[in-house]
């Protein structure tokens, strides 16, 4: 399966650090899968103008086409101004409205404060649901104190990432298999 890790911010280090750990865990535990890490800090994206995602150029096209070719997307996001960053929202805006159909999406949040705990629940999940993703119900939430100099210093946080990866893989495999069985029953 194609797995894309999307680090949704153009600045800061916590989300990218957590995504690096996530990538290592996937590569260690699921070596047969293709893993791509897209860090929005490494790309220059245009704002969405409503065109077909394949008609963008350059970095924008690379990011949209990579996501659309994925079976699994693990979204890492910081919380800015009590919401997801505009850079991440723009990625969703660049995609078709049902662009996450048959894709499994897991969420990892890094935040400066525990006050932001429900932001992903109330603001990110509705977007993913609207775009028809299969959403992993439980997400990983990490705070400033879990990091020190681009390393995760809270072992429990690493365990939570491991569980997120496992939950995401289980949901993806289960859903893909269940859909295969159902589609076979259609008989065409």
């Amino acid at each position: 399966m194609n797995i894309t890790l999307l680090s949704g911010s153009t600045i800061g280090s916590k989300t990218r650090t957590a995504m690096n750990y996530t990538k290592d865990i996937i590569e260690r535990n699921y070596p047969d899968h293709e893993v791509t890490l897209l860090d929005l800090a490494d790309f220059e994206l245009v704002f969405s103008d409503g065109r077909d995602f394949r008609e963008y150029k350059g970095d924008t096209k690379v990011v949209t086409e990579t996501i659309m070719a994925s079976d699994i997307i693990l979204i890492g996001t910081p919380i800015f101004q009590a919401s997801i960053p505009g850079s991440l929202k723009n990625v969703f805006d660049l995609l078709p409205q049902d662009g996450l159909r048959d894709k499994t999406a897991g969420i990892l949040v890094t935040a400066g404060s525990s006050k932001h705990y429900l932001i992903a629940e109330t603001q990110l999940k509705p977007i993913l649901a609207y775009m028809k993703a299969q959403i992993v119900q439980t997400y990983t939430f990490m705070e400033e104190r879990d990091f020190y100099r681009k390393k995760i210093v809270n072992e429990d946080a690493v365990f939570r990432i491991e569980r997120l990866v496992e939950d995401t893989m289980i949901l993806s495999e289960t859903y893909t298999e269940a859909r295969r069985i159902k589609e076979e029953q259609y008989g065409f």
Partner: protein
């Protein structure tokens, strides 16, 4: 406005047409694509067979990007006009936004003369927008380009000598727009997406609407049609004088299961290339329901569906897309045969209106 002006005689029942987007895709059943030349010739041949089967209309669309071959759709329509005698010849649709309305009118008035008064234009805004960059237009002007140029097209249809000024084209001063169509004017329709707001724009401009439908219940597609008619009434028009057309997927085979099996890979694989993602199998399976607008199934089921749609929409024309995604020509022939022998006679019989 009257049906007559749009060359529609509803005493003969619902008009039935075929349309093609001119897509050029491989047949997923055998993983092969025919040459663009063969595809074009088969489109012309499809029009001839449709005419023989008693089908009322054939239309061709323009898409300026990979996987298509009727970029010059008016040229294809001209060839069809010459190869046929009585079938109506239309676009589906003409992207007026990125064309010069004067040139479009010249082309279609010419096709009208060649065909002996059978040409029509359906103007659309483009769902695939590759042509904006190709032809040097800014996608930010998407809406205004269409509205301004469409209104100029309508003006040229009404007036032989045109005075006009706008943002996206040089002004016209006492411009004599020739040739004129055989009977003075062309039927010009507005292509409408799935939303009421889109249909209301056709009402504001006082033109008939063409509704594209991919899949879903008829009741949902009735909403834009209702909005169109309500808007016309609110403007003091008699909405019963404005024709409405619908367009959607069509595929007939001896059994429903066979139709699904044969057609689904064409739609799914084709849409992956033209639209960037396939057609969900679940939605396609639901398409067989009587109340779903996708006309895929056995001839008897399709008859029932079209009659149900007619009851729901009270529309005057339906056009069927049966060639998308590399459907081989023998299957296109088979579909036309089923339409001519079974579907069309039943649909006409049940939808013909007694003359007042």
């Amino acid at each position: 406005m009257s049906f007559e002006q749009y060359r529609i005689d509803d005493s003969k029942g619902l008009e039935f047409g075929l349309y093609t987007l001119g897509d050029h895709l491989k047949n997923p059943h055998i993983d092969k694509r025919i040459s663009p030349q063969q595809r074009l010739q088969e489109i012309i041949e499809m029009a001839k067979l449709a005419e023989e089967a008693g089908i009322d209309l054939i239309s061709v669309g323009e898409s300026h990007q990979d996987h298509f071959t009727t970029q010059a759709h008016s040229v294809v329509l001209s060839a069809i006009a010459q190869a046929t005698e009585k079938i109506k010849v239309s676009s589906s649709s003409t992207i007026i936004s990125t064309s010069d309305p004067v040139r479009v009118y010249e082309d279609f008035a010419t096709i009208d003369l060649i065909s002996g008064g059978r040409a029509e234009i359906v103007a659309g805004r483009a769902s695939r927008v590759g042509l904006f960059e190709l032809l040097g237009y800014d996608l930010h002007d998407y809406e205004e380009l269409f509205e301004e140029k469409f209104e100029l097209l309508l003006q040229i249809n009404k007036e032989e000598v045109v005075n006009w000024e706008g943002e996206f084209r040089q002004p016209l001063r006492d411009a004599h727009i020739l040739p004129r169509p055989l009977n003075g004017s062309l039927p010009i329709w507005r292509a409408v997406g799935g939303t009421p707001a889109s249909a209301m724009k056709a009402a504001y401009q006082g033109v008939p609407m063409y509704q594209a439908m991919l899949g879903g219940p008829a009741s949902v597609f009735k909403r834009p049609i209702d909005a169109y008619r309500e808007t016309l009434e609110s403007l003091g028009q008699d909405s019963s004088e404005f024709p409405v057309a619908t367009a959607g997927f069509f595929y007939a085979a001896d059994t429903t299961q066979q139709a699904l099996k044969e057609y689904y890979p064409h739609i799914n694989e084709g849409m992956k290339l033209t639209n960037g993602r396939g057609f969900p199998k679940q939605a396609f399976a639901q398409g067989t329901h009587l109340k779903n607008i996708m006309n895929v199934g056995s001839p008897q089921e399709i008859i029932e569906k079209i009659l149900y749609q007619h009851e729901t929409f009270n529309h005057q024309r339906y056009i069927a897309q049966m060639d998308f995604g590399g459907v081989p020509f023998d299957k296109i022939m088979r579909n036309i045969e089923l339409i001519g022998n079974e579907i069309l006679p039943a649909v006409k019989k049940h939808t013909a209106k007694a003359k007042a």
